[in-house]
Amino acid sequence: MGRVLELENVHKAYKLGFIPKKKPVLKGVSFHVNQGEIFGYLGPNGAGKTTTIKCILNLIFPDAGRITIFGEDSLRPRARQKVGFLPENPYFYDYLTGREFLAFYADLLGIHGQAREDKIGYFLKLVGMERAADLQLRKYSRGMLQRIGLAQALLNDPALVILDEPMGGLDPIGRKEFRDIIVNLKKEGKTVFLSSHILQDIEMICDRVAIILAGEIINQGYLGDLISEKVLFTEIIIGGVPAAEFDHLGESVSTSGDRVLLKVYEEEKIDQVLSLVQQKKGKIISLIPRTETLEDIFVNMVKSQ
């Protein structure tokens, strides 16, 4: 599998204040993104996610280290030929309409004539913005800007799509649609680099992840390797039996009406709970084994730093 994006020991410090004092933001960031995967870049706010992306796109210059895109040094504009980018809070020329906005970027990318019109039509439909196409961007909501921004990022049929917190301003339906679009991009053979602090998004669609904290990569790898399949505990919701009956079997977390939510840590005790419920003529409403989530790993890592 070829490497689409590679960062080697990237350092960046910002100079702040009247008497400039250097504040390190990236402290030797290294990772790579393989062809055809959805790569999740995870970290809390202020960890250095956006700074990393800006370094990749040449919007800021690293103090040290090397970045290559498709094997080409990121400092060359040619390296960005096959890259699409959607920034965190998309800011666009608000005096343009959605259609004019896409036409402007198409022109910049050298797409003209009928090909341009076809592409604009196709992407407006893909992101569900056909109806707002002739409205000025200043009248768009944040979610709408996010959608038109994604269309802009895909115009040049990029092989690498970089999305910075793409689902920030979206409602639940919008998030689902965005996730579907991203998964489809992967199916089309594109590589997706997705930065987010929303773990659920990453967990659902990413193949590999890198976790950044205070400018350092603290873990990276395949999602399956990072998250163990081990069952941490089982959550059982029981109806019709008082909570006190289960004191010796598990921890009752909450009760509502005649329902009890029980957390059982030992596997052998699950059978005992089930037979006790049967014996007391109660009923099992649900039984869910809880495995470790990306969130657990993330919280543990942040705490241990």
């Binding site: 040449n58 890259v83 920034p87 800011y91 910049l108 990318l109 990022a153």
Partner: protein, 254 residues
Amino acid sequence: MKITTIALNTFKEAKRDRVLYLLFFFVAVCLLFSRFLALLTVGDRVKIIKDVGLASISLFGMLMAILMGTGLVYKEIDKKTIFTLLAKPIHRAEFLLGKFLGLVLTIFIMTVLMAAVFMLILFLHTFSVDWKILLAILYIFFELCLMTAVALLFSTFTTPILASLYSLAFYLIGHLSWSLEMLIKKVKSGAGRAALRVLYTILPDLENFNFKTEVVHNLLLPGKLLGTSFVYGVVYTAFLLLLAMLVFRRRDFV
């Protein structure tokens, strides 16, 4: 092609910001002042109208170049529209050149419109057309191009307010630096004279583009002087643009 796209978009932005409405102010100032001053003056009324008209074109053009030019790049960075733009495969120099040409195009169209109005007012007073006026306006336009490059240069590293002040200072120095030339002639040759000569070479001399007096008073316009002024304008503007590109080349967009 990329430069053209950015230039046309810059023009579109100016158009939608209703910058061209400035033309109405120009017409009002031109009509009112030329009538008012003509009433107060003894002598040639037409000369007053020509003087006021040319000065107004220069003033309004300068206001446009400075006010719009200083916000040109700053606005892109402040509004973060530059992020998606420079993430595309374009050189920063192409971006700057596109912005510059876009504003020059806006100023060109505005100058043409102002010139048309001015010529019409003049025609209504004299019933004849003085084509030499257009030559003076052309050199005003060259000066405006240079001022746009000045504003753009300051816009690459500072806020619009400071950039406006710097540009204004540049404009004033540019129109007063000719007195240094007079001084040089009066100072005895030596270190002092050499220092003054260096200073005069570095400082801009915008009076090189001022042919208003010659045109209004129907004086001789030597071709050599026109040629030198044109070359001076092109070289100085190119130098300023190059400087802006150098500043912009390694700038971080945080």
